[in-house]
Symmetry: C2
Subunit: 343 residues, 2 copies
């Protein structure tokens, strides 16, 4: 069992910097596209064998040090009574957005075994087959709320922000429901076998520090407090949150994810005594290898060989990425910086 | 003459915190919408009297401490040989994007008197009529290049980033042309009478620190060095650049603009011995007044009455904003914090 990833999450010495990629499973891999010719994303998530296969594909091809369960961040939402459709080219679309106190009150409690049995079974299959750790994940409450209130991905989350300012008690009740959802969902994933969890706050970058402190931080603290007893590392990743980084780190997480728009060294200073994950710009991988190499080496240099760096991109793998570039990048990271065992 | 704004840019004591709003002239004002029923944006920019009228409207209605010349950041581009059309709902659209060395070589030098005579005449008219300082502006080279290479506004500037990585000499030559354009354009605005200039790097938030340092910072330094001799304060505003803030500040500017996603106090510490401008979230103005008041007071508190704060939003006024909220906000800022004269 390759445990570099888990050791780095705990800031223990490692034989090489561990590396995995957000969205490593998915459209950049031809073997995934082959499956998608016969199956929708929803089909894959419902079918344990297919979900396990898609999750394991990048481990086989790329040699990464961790697998991440294949699902969409909106996958659990039907379990609280929300109809979601994944539309190609648009992403998740919610037919009836949640905007009133009555809408929030109508949401159901989340029962993982009833709502996502296929995913939980996929986790059990994967633990049998994988020789690297398996990461579970959930969308963070603000990001899920953004989909629920806007009805789809939105670059400014204007409707959710409007609700936060005009009806903070309604927005707050929705966020509370989503904290409960994420807790139940992640507890079930851990019970089924995932060895780490990541919270994706993909839309948090639209908020300023005032709104984050008032509406989001207390709820993220409750969420991370609830995860603390599970015995697995929790990764907290907020996209576009450079200005929020002190608040994001204070809200919780054993590992803080960094997007590509921060200097890893400076950001690690802000984060303090925690592991960090990141932060190569995924768009660099669309260009020539020497540029990938130069920027990846720079990320490793900025990490400086300190225990507690998980190499990753600063955002998900772009669909047009050549998997051979990713494979070469994995080899570079493994060869690039070797931290001598300190023990 | 109300010179609070210019005094704050120079970090001199002021009788009240000066305030103006990015996009204060425009769709949030009914008197602007009335003009737009008969005139396109291009018509307004060509007609000195109309341009001056639109520029002065927010000064009359809102009582702000500065006017900003009404134009689009793509307004000078036809002057280097690029056809731009402003499409309602989309923004500027460039029929033939610039993507090759030949495309860049075909761009012409910029002659302000030949290309934007109406704007320069509007500046002269405004200086006669205004009792607050007039700010000129230009798009920063990376942001203009983003429009030129993408063909329109793009949330990830993927084509420009691809060009930077695959053909840095072509992208660099384009950025150099745009530095020359911005310098000539802003020098002409100052010669015609503007009393401060602002560089808008609206799309810079897509870049990480590595790319900024290599491709953008040296060019911004050349630009600010070229402006230094003009005797007017230069404001440097990069949207979404929280993680780039040290690099943006180091690249130049007498005043550093802050968007709403940073804590003003912490960001000012990063910026150091410079004035700062910002940083209320513009979306707050769509909500109830008590929330506007609370967040505006927080911005003023974070500025702490230090000389050198120009109150502004962290981004442009949203079109749906009620001008009465803006007027009330101006009054709040003027009343809220009074810095005693230090002399």
């Amino acid at each position: 069992m390759n445990d570099r990833f888990l050791r780095a999450c705990r800031r223990e010495p490692v034989d090489a910097t561990p590396v995995w990629f957000m969205r490593q499973a998915g459209r950049s891999l031809p073997e995934y596209r082959a499956i998608r010719r016969h199956a929708t994303l929803a089909d894959i998530v419902r079918d344990p064998a297919l979900c396990a296969e898609v999750t394991i594909q990048p481990v086989r091809r790329l040699g990464v040090d961790a697998a991440i369960l294949f699902a969409d961040i909106t996958t659990p939402l039907p379990g609280i009574g929300v109809d979601v459709e994944i539309v190609d080219g648009t992403g998740p679309v919610i037919a009836r957005p949640i905007r009133t106190a009555a809408d929030v009150a109508a949401l159901r409690g989340f029962d993982p075994e009833a709502s996502v049995p296929g995913l939980l079974e996929a986790i059990r299959l994967l633990r049998r087959d994988l020789d690297v750790p398996l990461i579970g994940f959930a969308g963070a409450p603000f990001t899920l709320a953004s989909y629920l209130v806007e009805g789809r991905g939105s670059r400014d989350a204007a409707a959710l922000k409007g609700l936060l300012h005009a009806e903070p008690e309604v927005a707050g009740a929705l966020l509370d429901v989503l904290v409960d959802l994420s807790l139940a969902y992640l507890r079930a994933q851990v019970a089924a076998g995932v060895q780490a969890v990541q919270l994706f706050d993909s839309w948090i970058g639209v908020l300023g520090p005032w709104d984050y402190a008032r509406h989001v931080a207390p709820r993220m603290r409750r969420l991370f407090d609830g995860l603390a007893g599970l015995g697995v590392p929790a990764i907290h990743f907020g996209t576009g949150g450079a200005g929020l980084l002190p608040a994001i780190a204070a809200a919780g997480g054993d590992v803080i994810g960094l997007d590509w728009r921060v200097d890893l060294h400076d950001a690690w200073d802000v984060v303090g005594d925690r592991a960090v994950q990141g932060n190569l710009d995924p768009s660099v991988l669309l260009g020539p290898w020497p540029e990938v190499e130069a920027q990846a080496r720079w990320v490793l240099e900025r990490a400086g060989g300190r225990p507690g760096h998980v190499f990753n991109l600063g955002h998900g793998v772009l669909p047009a990425t050549d998997p051979d570039q990713l494979r070469r990048l994995v080899d570079l990271v493994h060869a690039g910086v070797t931290v001598e065992a300190l023990a």
